[in-house]
């Protein structure tokens, strides 16, 4: 290599690397500056660094607990309870918001004038008002308006509906429950496999597939039996103004879930509408020409193509839902953010707790992104 041919400061490759090194150095210096400052400030305020405090007993109660928890448990356990509460809302919220969003998005393009207008009004109202306001409204004007526990509305089940939330029949959580649950899930998976095999046999071999059909019925019977008798259903019991047993979905949980679903679905509806409209008109016409019903045309031709456009913006909506779930603290739902804040307040470990909050939401959202990216790859056109 002849060094004199291209001087170093005009060597493109070198300059690119040098530039990156300089940027990296600046970033590292900035991080060092911030980190150093943080450490010095911690020392100045006499706050010990480290995360050991998570093993200390929490000594505060949490209202909504999906996993066993008592105030004698550690701060770490309390955070876990909060995390489960957050995930509960996020997972249910994403599923429900997607269903509602797709329905409303399609309704926005309906040929029925009334349906179209109602969908438009819904989208515009929920998209253009602050979510926190909607949460407060749902909580105080809807969920707290239910009667007090002693006058609960009784629904069949037995189910009690009151301003403390809804009390449902729920499996007791014994060993028998888990075995029954495994049986149900197993027969569900087996059923899906059988169904696929049956379709294959019918299409490829022209057979009737009746054997598979009977096997599936047998599986269904087993699953239903396990569901009814194996799960040890526990009914809620009302004594005076205290309900024991069963599952309590609190009004706070309900208000948060409803708020997140209604709000996010309004955005998803627009994503769905945009996705459907992005499919060229010729596709509609072609499917009509083939004699497909409008519903079938939507399901088999238009929607799969719209899905390709919809998934990236849909991912953003899911991420927003996950982050918005932290507004729970406003309506007294014990989500991760609220529990973390309480711990911050009791221990004074601001930096540690804030870093935990950041890492947790980052992890949740990265997982959602990864899953959606995987899904995105599955529905893209496979060019061979």
């Amino acid at each position: 290599m002849d060094e004199h041919k291209v001087p170093l400061w005009r060597d493109d490759r070198f300059l690119k690397i040098a530039l990156q090194v300089i940027v990296l150095a600046i970033v590292v210096a900035l991080l060092a500056l911030l980190g150093g400052n943080a450490l010095i400030n911690l020392r100045r305020l006499g706050i010990p660094p480290g995360y050991d405090f998570l093993n200390n007993p929490a000594s505060f109660g949490i209202g909504d607990t999906a996993i066993p928890y008592s105030p004698t448990d550690s701060f770490g356990r309390a955070l876990l309870v909060g995390l489960v509460n957050t995930l509960r809302v996020i997972v249910l919220g994403i599923i429900l918001a997607t269903i509602l969003g797709i329905v409303v998005g399609i309704a926005r393009l309906s040929e029925n004038w009334l349906v179209r207008q109602i969908a438009t009004i819904y989208v515009e109202i929920f998209r253009n008002t602050p979510l926190l306001l909607q949460l407060f409204f749902l909580y105080t004007a809807v969920f707290l308006r239910f009667p007090a526990v002693e006058n609960s509305i009784r629904l069949p089940g037995p189910t009690f509906l009151s301003n403390q939330g809804i009390f449902l029949l729920w499996p007791a959580g014994t060993a028998r429950t888990w075995i029954a649950l495994a049986v149900i899930i197993g027969s569900l998976i087996l059923g899906i496999l059988l169904w696929r095999q049956r379709v294959k046999v019918i299409v490829l071999q022209g057979a009737s597939g009746q054997n598979y059909f009977f096997a599936m019925i047998a599986l269904a019977v087993i699953a239903v039996l396990a569901l009814l008798f194996g799960l040890d259903w526990q009914a809620p019991v009302l004594q005076g103004d205290v309900v024991t047993g069963g599952l309590n979905l609190s009004g706070e949980f309900g208000a948060l879930l409803a708020g997140l679903v209604l709000y996010t679905a309004a955005f998803i509806a627009e994503v769905v509408r945009a996705g459907i409209q992005s499919v060229s008109k010729g596709q509609w016409e072609a499917s009509r020409a083939l004699g497909l019903q409008p519903g079938l045309a939507m399901r088999l031709v238009i929607f799969p193509q719209a899905l390709r456009v919809m998934i990236p913006p849909l991912t953003s909506e899911y991420l927003n839902l996950a982050k918005n779930s932290s507004l729970a603290a406003g309506i007294a739902y014990a989500d991760f953010f609220q529990v973390a804040n309480t711990i911050n307040n009791q221990t004074g470990r601001v930096l540690q707790v804030v870093s935990l909050i950041m890492i947790t939401y980052l992890t949740i959202n990265l997982i959602i992104s990864l899953a959606m990216n995987w899904f995105n790859q599955q529905v893209q056109i496979k060019e061979r």
């Binding site: 060094e3 001087p7 170093l8 400061w9 070198f14 040098a18 090194v21 300089i22 150095a25 600046i26 590292v28 210096a29 900035l30 060092a32 500056l33 150093g36 400052n37 010095i40 400030n41 020392r43 100045r44 305020l45 006499g46 706050i47 010990p48 000594s59 505060f60 109660g61 949490i62 209202g63 105030p71 004698t72 407060f136 909580y139 105080t140 707290l144 308006r145 007090a148 301003n163 403390q164 103004d241 205290v242 024991t244 609190s250 009004g251 706070e252 603290a329 406003g330 309506i331 007294a332 014990a334 609220q338 804040n341 309480t342 911050n344 307040n345 009791q346 221990t347 004074g348 601001v350």
Partner: protein
């Protein structure tokens, strides 16, 4: 040539690191406990005090519909401003939630936190706070509906209880129920207004907080007579101002303004009769009002700082009567002067 460039790069890197170190070095100096960097100097040169208050609690700090602040905590903010600037209006109030308050103080967003904050060992040590003397001795109680017929904490077994997050009451509540070994469901609110509106709607069978707060809040509920504060007191809640650790000059200033109001009541000096005391021969009065000695200027305050406080805000008894005793008919109880069997006691001004 390559060497020359490497040299340049090395220089830039070293410079960057040096800058980083130099800036961190600066903040070390800021953290030191020396006179020049005390909050006292910051406040004096700024010309106004930034005071962290509650803003939602009648009797302690409350914003009325004209935007005016009133209450006991507010009066102590004004007293500090009066001592420093001879003007009680030179205060900027910041409304803080229970969650935000300590972070706001630690970050230097406020100069002093006077937000019905309970003095605990954990807050005093691990949280890096410095507490001034207690201005209100309180205890935690329970607010229930009269219709419920609940008489004591035991009657709340299995019930839902509304509580504010980030407070000592949240922990006391859990401790008490653990001690009695009875279950309960906490419903934890960030915001006090949201808490009491949910309670009024019957979300919880009880709301818990400091008894003074419950008494004040009960008055603002739709039908106050339908609610009752239980007699049972489940904790000690000494409420007082707090400053940052390692700034004793500023902590001293806050501490002695508070003590000064106690001392003034003990000596019988009020807003109205201050003029009569101006020419008093009593050396104790003379020292307090800065006519004799250098008690004020020794600590970096104007020598007549207590005369200013009394002139603008009054003594402790007046502050109590104006904000708590008058409006809520709350007996002074432990907040009586030590000479009357209470806990309000100031060390000697000498």
């Amino acid at each position: 040539m390559r060497k020359w460039i490497s040299l340049l790069l090395a220089t830039i890197l070293t410079a960057a690191v040096a800058v980083a170190c130099a800036s961190t070095g600066d903040s070390t100096a800021q953290g030191g406990d020396n006179n020049a960097n005390s909050t006292l100097n910051t406040v004096t040169s700024r010309g106004s005090l930034i005071c962290g208050v509650n803003g939602q609690l009648p009797g302690f700090s409350f914003v009325d519909n004209t935007g005016e602040y009133s209450g006991m905590d507010v009066d102590f903010c004004r007293a500090i401003a009066a001592a420093l600037f001879d003007d009680p209006t030179k205060v900027e109030f910041r409304n803080l939630s229970a969650q935000e308050r300590f972070t706001a103080l630690a970050a230097g967003e406020i100069d002093v936190l006077i937000r019905n904050t309970t003095w605990t060992i954990n807050r005093d040590t691990a949280l890096g706070l410095e507490f001034a003397p207690t201005t209100f001795f309180d205890g935690q109680g329970m607010l229930v509906t009269t219709a419920s017929g609940i008489r004591d904490v035991k009657g709340l077994s299995g019930k839902s209880i509304c509580v504010q997050s980030g407070t000592t009451t949240e922990q006391n509540l859990t401790d008490r129920f653990r001690k009695l070994n009875i279950p309960f469901t906490p419903v934890v609110f960030d915001d006090e207004d949201a808490l009491y509106s949910a309670f009024a709607q019957g979300r919880c069978q009880a709301a818990t907080s400091d008894r003074s707060q419950l008494t004040a809040r009960r008055k603002t509920l739709p039908n106050p007579d339908n609610y009752v504060v239980l007699d049972e007191v489940i904790s000690k809640e000494p409420l007082g101002p707090a400053t940052r650790n390692n700034d004793s000059r500023w902590a001293d200033a806050v501490k002695w303004v508070v003590f000064g109001t106690f001392q003034a009541e003990e000596l019988g000096i009020t807003k109205d009769n201050l003029a009569q005391f101006e020419n008093s021969n009593d050396p104790e009065v003379k020292r307090l009002l800065g006519k004799e000695g250098t008690l004020g200027s020794d600590m970096g305050l104007p020598n007549d700082f207590m005369a200013r406080v009394i002139k603008h805000v009054g003594n402790y008894g007046e502050i109590y009567e104006r904000n708590i005793g008058g409006p809520f008919q709350l007996e002074r109880g432990p907040n009586e002067l030590w000479t009357n069997g209470g806990l309000i006691y100031a060390p000697p001004f000498r």
